[in-house]
């Protein structure tokens, strides 16, 4: 304290500059190994932040970026809305694409981000894209778990969970086991050190709370949550082997999307009920379907197997996007056509 009072004007200015630099760099001491990490052609949190805002700035009539909430470490969960009359909430079908629940699944962030970029760059030049942008409200939340993603980029490539300090020497809650519907059931763990730790309570995490509040507010007609890997199109339920009440519809949509994916690069994505793989509870799609009745899908992107697993080579980013684009367009079209149908 005494030292501070003895500082002269120059020292105060220097200290102020240091503080400003600190705050400009994000103002966090979160041991992330640097403020500008590099994920190669994959997008980091900072890059997603920059590029989403740039996309919105370049297409102001049809794109708007907003934060749907903050992560445990205080990062914004960015969403981009794409629609004509973007500042208005119109009575149009809403379709949502989310990605990056799991930190290490980098392609699951780039996939929805590339969707946003594609819609905005093709608007006005491509009749299909122009039509769907005019007639629907598309929301894209590419990175639900920014803290975990940052940690995966800077510190531990295979990190899965968020960065909650569990208070016992362990970190992280599996966000895709933290949703409320049948929370605590099979395929999740109460061990804080487990990679499928479900958290101390349903919706205990700010990230899942933000997604919940956003979806309750916007009531989408359909949703895709991107993950990797295994090349699967999964539909509810995940917590039980029983079929969902709308199982025929969900299966038909999943099969139709798989068919559209296959014709692009002859790559097979298997459509199946989520529990066909194994039971897992507390995930995004079980909650969205169980609580709000929304047809929704988890798409496990490339590759097929554990080699290369999560570390999908950069050369496969574009092919993955290319093959998944027609599936996304199909679901948007279905959402448009079925807008008056009640499930």
């Amino acid at each position: 304290m005494k030292f501070a009072f003895k500082l002269n004007g120059r020292a105060v200015i220097s200290a102020g500059m240091l503080i400003s630099a600190f705050l400009l760099m994000g103002g966090r001491c979160d041991n992330n190994g640097g403020q500008n990490p590099d994920a190669g052609l994959y997008h980091t949190y900072a890059e997603i932040n920059d590029e989403l805002h740039k996309l919105a700035a370049d297409h102001p009539p049809i794109a708007r970026v907003s934060s749907i909430g903050k992560s445990v470490e205080g990062r914004d969960l960015w969403a981009i809305k794409i629609s004509d009359n973007v500042t208005q909430d119109e009575p149009e079908s809403t379709v949502v694409f989310v990605g990056g629940h799991h930190a290490r699944e980098w392609i699951a962030v780039d996939m929805p981000f590339l969707l946003a970029k594609y819609f905005l760059n093709r608007y006005g030049a491509d009749t299909t894209i122009t039509r769907i942008v005019n007639q629907t409200e598309i929301w894209i939340v590419p990175m639900v778990n920014p803290d975990g993603h940052q940690y995966s980029v800077t510190t531990q490539r295979l990190w899965r969970k968020n960065r909650r300090n569990n208070g016992d020497g362990t970190f992280g809650v599996d966000l895709n086991r933290n949703y409320e519907y049948e929370w605590g059931g099979p395929g999740s763990s109460g061990d804080t050190f487990s990679d499928i730790y479900r958290g101390p309570a349903p919706f205990s995490e700010p990230e899942t709370q933000a997604v919940r509040d956003f979806l309750q507010q916007h009531r989408p007609r359909s949703l895709i949550s991107y993950h990797n890997f295994s090349q699967l199109i999964l539909y509810p339920w995940g917590y039980t082997n029983n079929p969902a009440p709308d199982e025929p519809l969900l299966q038909n949509l999943a099969v139709a999307m798989a068919d559209r994916i296959r014709v692009v690069h002859n790559v097979t994505y298997t459509p199946e009920q989520s529990s066909d793989l194994y039971l897992a509870s507390g995930d995004t799609t079980d909650w969205l379907y169980g609580a709000l009745g929304v047809p929704c899908f988890t798409i496990e992107l490339r590759p097929r197997s554990a080699s290369p697993g999560f570390e999908l080579p950069e050369s496969q980013i574009n092919p993955t996007f290319e093959e998944n684009l027609p599936a996304a367009l199909y679901l948007i079209d279905w959402s448009l056509q079925s807008n008056t149908v009640t499930l």
Binding site: A4, R160, N165, G167, D168, G169, P186, S189, S194, F229
Partner: protein, 152 residues
């Protein structure tokens, strides 16, 4: 004014740098790291009922409740809080016979990466390996440190 701003900024920095520390369970001792120099220590700990999460050549990571803490004290074992860097996991291939057995693997809490035919690739702690063994599963360790970079 400048001095006031400086002091205020300093306070803000200190606040920003503080890690979030939720309260842990009062009965939990958290994860503790124990340096080991011989196998006898490991055996003593194992027989005492303390749960061994990770067993490396030079240290263990253990956890448990207040009873475990008492056991550690009785064994006069020095411990320190474990860090994330201590939590080594193995990459393994585990064989199963049917879907119910696969679900048993999942429900242990392992980090399941891939299901191919009658086996899965998973990232597991030594504690889970022990439980797999007790449940009659066979497995093969692919990598002793699942997080280590691939050998080129």
């Amino acid at each position: 004014m400048g001095k006031f701003l400086l002091m205020l900024s300093g306070t803000l920095i200190i606040c920003a740098c503080r890690q979030q520390q939720p309260a842990s369970s009062p009965t939990s001792i958290g994860l503790r790291k124990i340096s080991i120099s011989d196998q006898q220590t490991v055996e003593r700990l194992r027989q005492s009922g303390v749960k061994i999460l990770v067993q490396q050549p030079d240290y263990l990571v253990v956890y448990g409740d207040s009873a475990a803490a008492a056991q550690l004290r009785a064994l006069a074992t020095d411990t320190q809080p474990a860090t994330e860097q201590d939590l080594t996991q193995r990459l393994v291939r585990i064989h199963f016979t049917d879907k119910a057995r696969l679900q048993t693997i999942v429900d242990l809490g392992v980090d399941l990466w891939d299901v191919q035919g009658d086996s899965v690739t998973a990232r597991v702690y030594d504690l889970y390996l022990e439980q797999l063994k007790q449940n009659g599963f066979t497995y093969r360790i692919l990598k002793m440190d699942a997080g280590a970079p691939e050998d080129k």
